[in-house]
Structure formats: C-alpha cells, structure tokens
C-alpha cells in the first residue's frame, strides 16, 4: 500500500530535521525543484491530478495558475485551522511530521514565486506551536529557508501564526481577514485570493494535507502520483474515521477504496456487535448517507453521484443504536455557534433550525415542522455569503431524506400543547 503522507510517520523523533532527512529523503525534493523553472513545477502538479484536500477538492495546480500575472509580492497561507467536525488528519501531520509541511510549503512557494508564507494554525493547537516553531528554526539553520536557498537565488520566509478559536477562519477569505488582524469574517468572492488575497496581494491558500503531498510529487514525478487512485480522483487521501468503530483513527487510503472497506478493514468494523446505520463521508458539512451506500468508492466523483461529498475526508460512522436526529441537532448547534453573523440567512437560519430540531428532539415537535425545516434550508442554500450556510443545510436536508423515520419516531410521541423542554 503506497503511503505518501503517513509513510514512517510514527518514527521516533521524526519532528527533528535530522531524522526527517534520514528517514524520508527529507528536503531532497528542493534540489530537484530548483533545477526546474517555477512554471514547470506548476505543470508537474497539474499533471499529478492533485486536488485540494481541505474540502473543496479544487485542482491544486490550476489554482496556482490563477495567480495574478506579474503582481508581487505574493503570499502563501497554509490553512492549518483544522476545525471541520470529524476531521483530525492535519493535527496528526502537524504534531508528528512538521518538516513535511515546511518542505511542501517551500515547493509551493517556489512554483508560485512567493517569498513569504504563513502557517495559520487554529489556536487550540497550542501544544503544536512549539513543534512548528522549532522545525522552522531548524529549516532556517540548514538553509532551507531564508535568503538564496541552497544557492538557487530563491528567498523564502515562513512564519507560524496562531488563530484563537473560530471555525469560520478555515474558510479561506475569513482566514485572510483574521491574519490581517480583523474579525474572521469572510469576504466577497470574486476577487479570489489568487488575485487579491492577503494584504490585497495575490495569495495561495492551501490545506496542510495538500502541501504535504508536494514533496512526493516532485521527488517521484507526476505520473507516480497519478498512478494511484481513480481516473479523476488521483492519489491517496487521509481519512479520519471516528464514531462507532472498533479502531477509530486516521488512515491513508488510495482514492476509490470502497467505504465499507475503510470501515471494516481499516477501522475494524462497527463495535459492540451492532450494525452500520449511517455515515457522514466528508465532515459535518456534507450530506449524511445510509448504510446502503457503504459500497460507494471513496472518491470525489462517486461520493457526489451518491448524493454527498468527500469534503475534508472525515468519515463519521453511526451504528443502529443511534437516532440520527440527536446527531443532526448537535451539528446544527455547532453551525449556530460558529455562524459569524455577517449575513442574515445564515445567522437567523441556523438559529431557527436549532430551535425546531430541539423541539423535535425533546418530543414536543409538530409533524409539519419537517416541511418548515426544508423551507428554511431552501431559504439558506446558495443564499449565504460563504459556504458555512450551505454546510449547515446539508446534514438537515439529507437526514430528512434518508432517515425520516427517526424524525417520525420522535414526532410520534407528540403531546399537543405541551411547552418546549418539559418532557
């Protein structure tokens, strides 16, 4: 099984530059990249088929080629604000292999002719800040960062920047607002960050996992990466498997692996002798699917065809003892809490959904509230300022579609006229 991101990740002391260099051909990709023209590196990444691993799945090389021509300085902002419920893959990379990320950031910066990069880490990753700072220091000492890196004439500074607790800052434009010292509110797109990003300059925002793939592609060539996966979904993906499984964990799987194999072969199957009931394949922002869809291959196209999305790669598994409504309520409560309040449909809609779902969960809901929920979702979808609104809608609509009986079970015990919260 090809391991690109998690190869030897549990090697003791891998956070030290010596161990990284010895174990993983660390920083060897730089020499190869510097022998190429920056545009050739972009072409190589395009040819590899790598797509953004943060959630949107946009082709990475193509994103890079959208940078405003000949406008400098440009910036790189690594998105290490991992906050999508169910997702914990970047945390493992950051705490166990920080140099892989630094090497990836250097490669991206060289290809995009960027001389300053920021690694925006969520504030709760406080324990890993010192790991990253130490790794950056080592990279400067070895001459992989700073002026005239390895005699190439290329200069690059990378700084670590800590957030302070806000899910929305994982949205790229909100992250840039936050990095500029503002409230982390999203910005209108276009202009996209590649044209007008950090400090109004062209900026590439890439996820930790995306950047960590680059050393492999540069060392082994685009074809070696493209040989893994399916026709359109290339390479491997880190999948965070959580919930009712025997061995929850982050697993690196070739794209196209059937979901049932990820649950059973990697994560040990459903625990306590129960059966699979439902799963969310790509983090809390994507539609929930029933067990009957477990044979779907884990790749961008197959999941879309099945009515969901690959998202950030968080596979949340629920067994048949679960009432889906209580989990959807929890997710909705999250979106209500994290809505930045900038736009009305999201700010008000998430609150209404939470209120109605709470009533249903407390068995004081009314059957017609299911239609009302759908109506609210309809008034939010594609009408919010940023994707958070759409994200809040997806679990509600899909759970009513696939698990209506769970709602009806709670609505069936309705006692008319009873006030909310008295059961």
């Amino acid at each position: 099984m090809t391991q690109i991101l998690f190869k030897d990740i549990d090697t003791p002391g891998l956070i030290a530059i010596d161990v990284y260099e010895k174990t993983l051909e660390g920083y060897q990709a730089l020499k190869k990249a510097f022998a190429m023209a920056p545009d050739e590196v972009i072409e190589m990444v395009k040819a590899s088929g790598l797509r953004g691993r943060g959630g949107a799945g946009f082709p990475t090389g193509l994103k890079w080629s959208f940078l405003a021509k000949d406008v400098f300085p440009r910036y790189l902002a690594c998105n290490a604000d991992e906050s999508e419920p169910g997702t914990c893959k970047d945390r493992e990379l950051l705490m166990k292999n920080p140099h892989l990320l630094i090497e990836g950031m250097i490669l991206c910066a060289y290809a995009c002719r960027i001389e300053t990069g920021y690694n925006y880490m969520r504030g709760e990753f406080w324990e890993y800040e010192s790991i990253m700072e130490k790794a950056l220091e080592e990279a400067y000492e070895r001459g992989y960062l700073g002026k005239n890196i390895m005699g190439s004439g290329f200069n690059l500074d990378i700084h670590n920047h800590m957030g302070a607790g806000a899910y929305i800052c994982g949205e790229e434009s909100a992250m840039l607002s936050s990095l500029e010292g503002e409230r982390g509110e999203p910005r209108l797109k276009p202009p996209f960050p590649a044209v007008k990003g950090l400090y109004g300059m062209p900026t590439i925002v890439n996820n930790v996992e995306t950047l960590c793939v680059l050393p492999f592609i540069v060392r082994n060539g685009a074809a070696a990466y493209a040989a893994i996966g399916t026709e359109k979904s290339k390479g491997t993906k880190l999948v965070s498997v959580s919930g009712h499984v025997k061995k929850p964990g982050n697993y690196e799987v070739p794209l196209g692996t059937p979901i049932i194999d990820i649950i059973e072969k990697y994560a040990g199957g459903i625990r306590d002798g129960n059966k699979l009931k439902a799963f969310i394949p790509g983090g809390s922002s994507v539609p929930i699917l029933p067990a009957s869809k477990a044979d779907v291959p884990y790749d961008y196209e197959s999941l879309q065809a099945a009515g969901s999305m690959l998202g950030s790669g968080a596979l949340i598994v629920m067994d048949d003892t679960t009432n889906v409504v209580s989990e959807i309520l929890r997710i909705t409560s999250f979106y209500m809490h994290e809505s930045c309040g900038k736009c009305t449909p999201c700010r008000e809609g998430t609150r209404w959904m939470y209120q109605i779902l709470s009533e249903i969960q407390n068995k004081v809901g009314k059957p017609e509230q299911l239609d009302l929920l759908i109506d609210i979702c309809d008034n939010m979808e594609f009408k919010c300022f940023c994707p958070l609104g759409d994200a809040a809608v997806a679990p509600v609509v899909s759970s009513i579609e696939h698990f209506r009986e769970d709602y009806e079970e709670l609505l069936g015990s309705l006692k008319t006229g009873q006030p909310v919260g008295t059961t």
């Binding site: 806000a166 899910y167 010292g181 949340i316 989990e327």
Partner: protein, 158 residues
C-alpha cells in the same frame, strides 16, 4: 494599568517581525494571547495597551477579541477544563463525561469553582475526533477520556 512583562516584550518584538512593517495589525491575535497568558484573561486595560501598540482604538481591539472563543474577558479558574461536545465526541459519550465532571467539581458548565481553581466549559470540535471523547486542560489535550481519566487529570492539577 496593564504592562507587558519583559519576557512578553521580547516576544512582541519577534511577533511584529513576522508581518510587513505597515501591517502590524496582523499581530493583534498573538498580542491578545500574550496579554491573556499574563493576566489569565484579557482585561480592558490590556485592550487599551494593545490598541496603542497597533494604532487602533480599544473598541476595535474589543471587537476583534470578542469574535474569538479562546479569549476570556472575565476572570477564569487557574485551570480551564474544556470538553468537546461535537459529533464524534457525542457518539462516544461526552455528555455523560461532562455531567460526571459537573458533579465532581460541583459546578455547571460555564462556571468556576468557588476556590477559583477550575472553570468548566463546553467546546466545539477540537480536531481530535479519532481519540474521542476529548478534553483540554489549559489547552493541553487529553484523549480517549473516561471518568477514571478525568479523576486522574484533575488530581494532577496542583
């Protein structure tokens, strides 16, 4: 009156050097974090001081500060105990664990113990979902939590 300590001042120099000279406002979150580390929470006086350093009004500092959940604007206990309550932790029994801890500490979520030692909080996803349920004590992760482990962790807080 709020004064950054000498250690903080050394760090502030390093922090400011990360951003372009005319973009020092980028340092607002790191400075708020430093102020909170120093005093336990972000005081109004600290906001005034940070505003002066970054050439913005105290009201602006407050508007930014209030956006981010990791800043406290009121005193908290010596140890802030946070439980993740999001879906993966919920599927793994975080509600029972929170209730257990509430009983053990004799406070409700959002409250501080009378001896000012512990503040108990709910937290949204902490990105350690494969090791649920998860708790943080003063930003340090504790994973695969059980009531016994809660006892151990709390007992290890001097």
């Amino acid at each position: 009156m709020f004064i950054f300590t000498e250690t903080s001042e050394t760090r502030i120099k390093k922090i400011l050097a990360k951003y372009p000279e005319d973009r020092k406002l980028s340092a607002i979150l790191p400075l708020l974090t430093l102020a909170q580390d120093q005093e336990g929470y972000v005081t109004p006086e600290a906001m005034i001081e940070i505003g002066k350093r970054l050439d913005v009004s105290p009201a602006y500092v407050e508007s930014v500060c209030s956006f981010y959940t990791m800043y406290y604007t009121k005193p908290v206990g010596k140890y802030v105990v946070k439980f993740c309550i999001n879906i993966s932790c919920h599927l793994n029994g975080c509600d029972n664990l929170l209730e257990y801890t509430e009983k053990k500490l004799g406070v409700k979520e959002g409250e501080t113990t009378p001896d000012k030692k512990f503040t108990l909080l709910k937290e949204e996803c902490l990105a350690a979902c494969c090791e649920a349920p998860v708790m943080q004590v003063n930003n340090k992760y504790h994973v695969n939590m059980t009531p016994d482990k809660v006892d151990q962790v709390l007992a290890s807080c001097p």
